[in-house]
Symmetry: C2
């Protein structure tokens, strides 16, 4: 393939992120949703993630990259993130679907910014919100209103989500320099640029927390 | 709604069967698939089950039946079936996807036979095989060829799947007489007719086992 060398990495990490989000949201929906209607709504979002996975897999195949090989380097880090952030209840699951997935998506969007337009467009399409924000924000706000004690606990939970995400993100960036390079405009001073980027991601995260009332 | 009284029950049990098959196949794919390619194939089948769930849910809504209420009476029996038939490995997961889901589908198809054509058509559409058969048959045959000892173990597993399905099916039929009535042409002699039906289902099961080489 004659694309930027980080493209297969970016599409690969994003594909596995979508596949694993699909799996975990489906599980969370079945285990934690308080009603069949809530289970259905979260399952619907999970299936939307799967549709994104399909787009990415097909694009990799078009680029003559084996999707399995493109995803494999990222399986461990993403699985570790999910294992370390297994929600204990429904509100934690919603905060994870909104805040945890949100920060990951900011990261991919940032990486795709400087790629050729058809890749940027694909990534934007895949990262479209699909109603996840509204559903989660509304339910979490209602949950916190009904049980104000939950608020501090959920704020702590969100900090853990983002802390684990940054830690896995840095690990991936160290192991996949070409992917990391997509994320930084200047390659002269990688580590400093990556820190600036992480600061920007943290700011977006702050906005989501405010939306949740946390 | 002015349909046969068992219709809401039939669409409800079928909707929850699809929703729970979606969940369990997604889990099995993530936990047991030997490769990302296999995980993707089984996830693809899971998402197809979810699309069927959506058709049934929308039809219930059109009939002015709350999908959640229609599904609720069947949650316990179907969850119990899944809990009692949790696959221990990939071949067991494939046999379950083919044999376990297959017997359930025969059951629903039989129940839908005597309903008004639009319902029969919907049920047929939902029960379309979507490639599940080919994928499972091919992989299980290859697995058994590679490890002949697996054959006896999988045959036993399939017997457990069908035994548990019949036991949960009889429990549901006893609790939901209108649904049971859809299954039998003559209501004069329900229990005998139900036994005949179960014999027919068992025969179809035998054909699937033969296809698997078990």
């Amino acid at each position: 393939m004659n694309e930027s060398p980080g493209v297969a990495d970016l599409l690969g990490v994003l594909a596995y992120a979508e596949l694993s989000a699909f799996t975990r949201m489906t599980e969370d929906a079945a285990l934690l949703a308080p009603s069949l209607a809530d289970r259905t709504t979260l399952s619907e979002l999970a299936v939307a993630e799967y549709a994104h996975f399909r787009l990415l897999r097909d694009r990799l195949t078009e680029l003559k990259v084996d999707p399995e090989q493109a995803m494999r380097p990222f399986v461990e880090a993403l699985d570790a993130w999910h294992t370390q952030t297994r929600p204990a209840d429904w509100l934690q699951a919603l905060v994870k679907a909104y805040v945890g997935v949100g920060i990951a998506l900011d990261f991919y969007r940032e990486a795709a910014k400087r790629l050729e337009p058809s890749i940027t467009k694909l990534v934007d399409e895949v990262l479209a919100d699909e109603g996840r924000a509204n559903f989660a924000v509304e339910r979490v706000r209602a949950g916190v209103a009904a049980d104000p004690v939950a608020s501090g606990r959920l704020a702590l939970w969100a900090r853990r989500l983002v802390g684990e995400a940054l830690s896995q993100g840095q690990r991936v960036a160290a192991a996949r320099p070409e992917l990391a390079r997509l994320l930084v405009q200047s390659v002269a001073d990688d580590q400093a640029e990556i820190s600036r980027l992480f600061a920007a991601l943290t700011e977006e995260h702050g906005k989501r927390m405010a939306a949740l009332g946390l």
